[in-house]
C-alpha cells in the first residue's frame, strides 16, 4: 500500500529529471539558512565557544605541561 503510494508519487508526480533542480534548491535553502543562523550569533557566545578546548578544568598543580598551565 505505502510502497505503491510512494512508487506512484515518485514515478508520476516527480519527474526524475527534476531531481537535480530539487536537490540543488534543497541544499541552497539549507545553506542560506545556516549562513543567516551563523551570522546572527552573538560575539561573546562565539568567543566563549572558541575558548572551550583551552579550558580542560585540570588543576595547575597536576600539570607539568606549560601549555595546559597557561590555559587555566
Amino acid at each position: 500500500m505505502l510502497y505503491n503510494l510512494v512508487h506512484s508519487v515518485l514515478r508520476e508526480a516527480v519527474s526524475i529529471n527534476g531531481y537535480g533542480l530539487f536537490s540543488f534548491l534543497l541544499f541552497f535553502g539549507f545553506f542560506i539558512g545556516v549562513l543567516i543562523w551563523a551570522f546572527r550569533l552573538k560575539k561573546n557566545y562565539l568567543s566563549h565557544m572558541g575558548d572551550l578546548p583551552l579550558k580542560s578544568g585540570e588543576r595547575p598543580e597536576n600539570s607539568t605541561d606549560p601549555i595546559q598551565s597557561e590555559n587555566l
Binding site: 510512494v6 512508487h7 515518485l10 536537490s23 551563523a38 552573538k42 578546548p53 597536576n62 597557561e70
Partner: protein, 710 residues
C-alpha cells in the same frame, strides 16, 4: 560556587594510542608487501594467503579501521572528556569498545587472507564480523551520548558535533550496506544486485571516507590544533557553517564513484554536482585550521606537533579539492580505474589522517606520561622522512595514473588503438610502482622512528592513569553566558541536535537510493540475461575469494577506446543477478566484463597456472593452487538457496539434486575442452569452476541482443 572534582580516564586513551601505533605498523607493512607484488609478483612466495588480491583489502581495512579507527577513538576519548568536563559515561563501555574493536581487527586479519570476503570495498568483512562491528559501535555511541548527557559544560563544542555526526552516520551506512543473506558461517550474498548494489556500496564507500576518515578527524583538528597552538580556532562562525554544509553535502556525492558506468545518468549528475559543491565547506575547514595558526608560525618551526598538523590540514585541502575535480565527468573519464585514484586516496590517508594521527600521538604521550617528548630532533626527522615518503609514494603514482589513462585512450592515425594489448600499458608504469614502494618504505621508517621516540618518552615519564579536574555542575555553569540564541538552544539540547544532524545526513541518501529501488526504468531488463549455473556460482565465489576485482573491473564504459578494446559497453540489465556486483574500481589488468569466449579454456588454465607463460611481462600472480584445490560442492545447496532468497529465480528444490547434476555436466564439458588443448584436469578442481565463470562473463547479451527491452 559549587565546584566538583572528578577524574579524566587516561588508561583508555593510552590503550587506543598503543593500538593505533601497533596496527599502523601492521597496516603499512601489509601495504608495502602489496606494493612490492605489483612489480615483483613472486613476492607472494606462491602462498595464496599473502597474494595481492587477498592482502589489498587487508591493507585498506588495517589502515582505515585499525590504524585510523584506533587513532580516532584515542582522540575522541581524550578530547570528549575534556570538552564535556566529565569522565567517560561508563568505563565498562570504554573497555568493551576497545577490546571489541581489537577483536574485530584480529578477525579481519585472519579472515581476509583466508579469502572470506564480501568483496565490497571497505566492507569486505563477513556477516558475523559485521554484527560485531555494529555491537562495538553501539557501545561507543552509548558512551559518547552518555558522556554528553552528564557533561559539566553546557555548550557542545564543534568537535563534539563532528563526533555525533560520525556516530550516527557510520551506523546507518554500515547497516544499510551490510544487508546480506548468510550462506554459511563466513559466506554471504548481498541483498542487492547489480546497479542497486553498486549504488548502495559506493554511497557507503564514499561516506565511509567522509564519516570515518573525515568528520571525526575534523572534530579532532578543531580540538587538538587550538590546543597545540594555544589559541582559539580562527573563526567559530566558520566552523558552524563548515559542519552543517559538510554533513548535508557529503552524503550526496557517492555516485561520483560510478561515472560513465551503467548507473542511471541522473544519479551520476547528482553525484558530480554535489561533489563540486563540497569544495566550499572543505576549504572553509582547511582555511579555518590554517588561519588558527596566524601569528603563531614561529611555533610551527619549533614544534613537531604543529608541523605534522600543518601538513595534515594542507593535505586535507589538497585531497578535498582534487576529489571534486576527479568527480567532473570528463576528468573522471581519464582518471577512473587508473592509479590516479590510488594517489588521491593516499594524499588523504598518509597526509590528512596519518599526519594528524602522528601529531596527536606526539601531543598525547608527553601529557599522559607527565614528561617532555624524549627527542624533538627525532620527531623532526620523522616529519621530514614521512613527508618525503609521501612525495615518493604519491608523485610516481600520479604519473602512473595519467600515463595509464592516456595510453588506454590513445588511437593511431589509422583509427586503431595505439596500445591494443593492455599489458603494454601496465609494463610502462612498473618503474613508478617501484618508486612507490620506496616511498612507502620511507613512510614506514618515519613511523618506526616515532615508535622509538614514544617508547623512550613513556620510559622517561610516569603514566598518570587519571587526571584530576574541577568544574562547576551544569546548571550553574549554563546560566553564565547571556541570552540564549537559536544555535545555543540547539546545541544545548543534544538529542534534538542529533536528530537534526541525522536528518541533514539522511536527506541525500534517501533522495538517491529510494528512487533507485522503486523506479523500474532505472534497470531496463534484458530477457537473455539468465542466472549463473551452479558451476559458475562456485567459480564466481572463487573470483570473489581471490580478490580478482582488486585488479580487474567488469564495467565497460561507453567510450570508443573501451568498446574497441573490450567490446560492447555494459548495460544495467546485465547485472540483475549479480549478488554482489563485481564492477571493481581499479584496473591493474584488463576489464573482464566480456571475457567469455575471448580465449579457449586451455588458455585460461595455463594463464592461471603461470600468467607469464601466456602473457610475458604480466604482473599477475600465479594461481597454481586453483589447479589442485577441490571446489566446494558441498556448499552449493546453501549458496543457491541464499541466492534464491535474495531474488535469483532458481526453481524450488533445484539445489537438492538437479544443481549437482548440472554442475557435473558443465564441469565435464570444461574438462573435455581442456583435453582438446592437451591439458588433463579433474572436474572437481577449482580451476574448472573459475574457467566456467570467466567464459560466461558478458556472453548473455551476445546470445540474443535483439531481445533487449527498453
Amino acid at each position: 560556587m559549587n565546584v566538583e572534582t572528578f577524574k579524566y580516564d587516561n588508561r583508555i586513551v593510552r590503550a587506543f594510542a598503543i593500538a593505533t601505533v601497533v596496527w599502523g605498523i601492521v597496516g603499512m607493512l601489509v601495504g608495502l608487501l602489496a606494493a612490492v607484488q605489483l612489480f615483483f609478483p613472486e613476492a607472494n612466495l606462491n602462498f595464496q594467503f599473502i597474494t595481492f588480491g587477498r592482502i589489498r583489502p587487508l591493507h585498506t581495512n588495517a589502515v582505515i579501521f585499525a590504524f585510523i579507527g584506533n587513532g580516532m577513538f584515542m582522540g575522541i576519548y581524550y578530547s570528549l572528556q575534556r570538552l564535556c568536563k566529565a569522565r567517560m559515561f561508563s568505563d565498562f563501555l570504554s573497555w568493551f569498545n576497545f577490546w571489541g574493536w581489537q577483536l574485530i581487527i584480529v578477525s579481519a586479519a585472519l579472515t581476509l587472507p583466508l579469502g572470506f570476503t564480501t568483496s565490497k570495498e571497505y566492507a569486505e568483512l563477513e556477516w558475523p564480523i559485521d554484527i560485531a562491528i555494529a555491537v562495538a559501535w553501539v557501545a561507543f555511541s552509548v558512551n559518547l551520548f552518555g558522556t554528553i548527557a552528564k557533561r559539566r559544560e553546557k555548550h557542545l563544542y564543534v568537535a563534539i558535533w563532528f563526533f555525533i555526526a560520525t556516530a550516527i552516520t557510520i551506523a546507518v551506512l554500515h547497516i544499510t550496506n551490510s544487508m546480506e543473506m548468510p550462506a554459511g558461517w563466513l559466506k554471504s550474498y548481498s541483498m542487492y544486485a547489480g546497479v542497486q548494489d553498486a549504488l548502495v556500496q559506493w554511497w557507503y564507500g564514499h561516506n565511509a571516507v567522509a564519516f570515518f576518515l573525515t568528520t571525526p578527524y575534523l572534530g579532532l583538528m578543531y580540538y587538538f590544533l587550538p590546543k597545540a597552538a594555544n589559541r582559539p580556532v580562527f573563526s567559530y562562525r566558520l566552523s558552524i557553517i563548515h559542519f552543517w554544509a559538510l554533513v548535508f553535502l557529503y552524503i550526496w556525492a557517492g555516485p561520483h564513484h560510478l561515472l560513465y558506468s551503467a548507473l542511471p545518468d541522473w544519479a551520476q549528475s547528482l553525484g558530480m554536482v554535489f561533489s563540486l559543491m563540497l569544495i566550499a565547506p572543505s576549504w572553509g575547514g582547511m582555511l579555518n585550521g590554517l588561519l588558527t595558526l596566524r601569528g603563531a608560525w614561529d611555533k610551527v618551526r619549533q614544534d613537531p606537533v604543529l608541523k605534522f598538523m600543518v601538513v595534515a590540514v594542507t593535505a586535507y585541502g589538497m585531497s578535498t579539492l582534487e576529489g571534486p575535480l576527479l568527480s567532473i565527468k570528463t576528468v573522471n573519464s581519464l582518471s577512473h580505474y587508473t592509479d590516479w585514484t590510488i594517489a588521491h586516496v593516499h594524499v588523504g590517508a598518509m597526509g590528512w589522517n596519518g599526519f594528524l594521527t602522528f601529531s596527536m600521538l606526539y601531543y598525547l604521550f608527553p601529557r599522559l606520561y607527565r614528561t617532555n617528548l624524549w627527542s624533538t630532533k627525532l620527531a623532526n626527522y620523522h616529519f621530514w622522512i614521512g613527508l618525503l615518503g609521501m612525495m615518493f609514494y604519491c608523485i610516481p603514482i600520479y604519473v602512473a595514473g595519467v600515463t595509464e589513462g592516456l595510453m588506454w585512450k590513445q588511437f593511431n592515425k589509422e583509427g586503431f588503438l595505439q596500445y591494443p594489448n593492455f599489458l603494454e600499458t601496465i609494463v610502462q608504469v612498473v618503474p613508478m610502482f617501484k618508486l612507490r614502494a620506496v616511498g612507502g618504505t620511507l613512510y614506514l621508517v618515519g613511523t618506526l622512528l616515532m615508535v622509538y621516540n614514544l617508547y623512550k618518552t613513556a620510559k622517561a615519564g610516569k603514566f598518570e592513569p587519571d587526571t584530576e579536574a574541577q568544574a562547576a555542575p551544569l546548571d550553574k555553569a549554563g546560566a553564565a553566558h547571556g541570552q540564549p540564541g537559536w544555535h545555543r538552544l540547539l546545541e544545548g539540547k543534544p538529542l534534538f541536535f542529533t536528530v537534526l544532524t541525522a536528518v541533514a545526513v539522511l536527506i541525500g541518501g534517501i533522495v538517491e537510493i529510494i528512487p533507485m529501488f522503486l523506479i523500474k526504468q532505472n534497470v531496463p531488463t534484458i530477457s537473455s540475461v539468465k542466472p549463473y549455473t551452479p558451476l559458475e556460482v562456485l567459480g564466481r565465489d572463487i573470483y570473489i575469494r581471490e580478490g580478482c576485482l582488486g585488479c580487474h573491473s567488469q564495467m565497460i564504459r561507453p567510450f570508443r577506446s573501451e568498446t574497441e578494446r573490450y567490446g560492447e559497453y555494459s548495460k544495467a540489465g546485465e547485472f540483475v543477478y549479480d549478488h554482489p556486483f563485481l564492477w571493481g574500481s581499479e584496473r591493474k589488468g584488463p576489464d573482464l566484463a566480456r571475457e567469455g569466449g575471448r580465449y579457449p579454456d586451455a588458455w585460461h588454465f595455463n594463464h592461471m597456472d603461470d600468467p607469464r607463460s601466456t602473457s610475458p611481462g604480466s604482473i599477475m600472480p600465479r594461481y597454481s593452487w586453483l589447479l589442485t584445490q577441490k571446489m566446494e560442492t558441498d556448499a552449493l545447496p546453501s549458496r543457491l538457496s541464499a541466492l534464491r532468497k535474495v531474488g535469483v529465480p532458481y526453481p524450488a528444490g533445484f539445489e537438492n539434486g538437479p544443481a549437482q547434476k548440472d554442475l557435473q555436466a558443465q564441469a565435464d564439458k570444461v574438462v573435455a575442452n581442456l583435453k582438446q588443448g592437451s591439458i588433463t584436469a579433474e572436474p572437481d578442481k577449482e580451476i574448472v569452476a573459475l574457467i566456467a565463470y570467466l567464459q560466461r562473463l558478458g556472453t548473455d547479451i551476445k546470445s540474443a541482443p535483439a531481445t533487449a527491452a527498453n
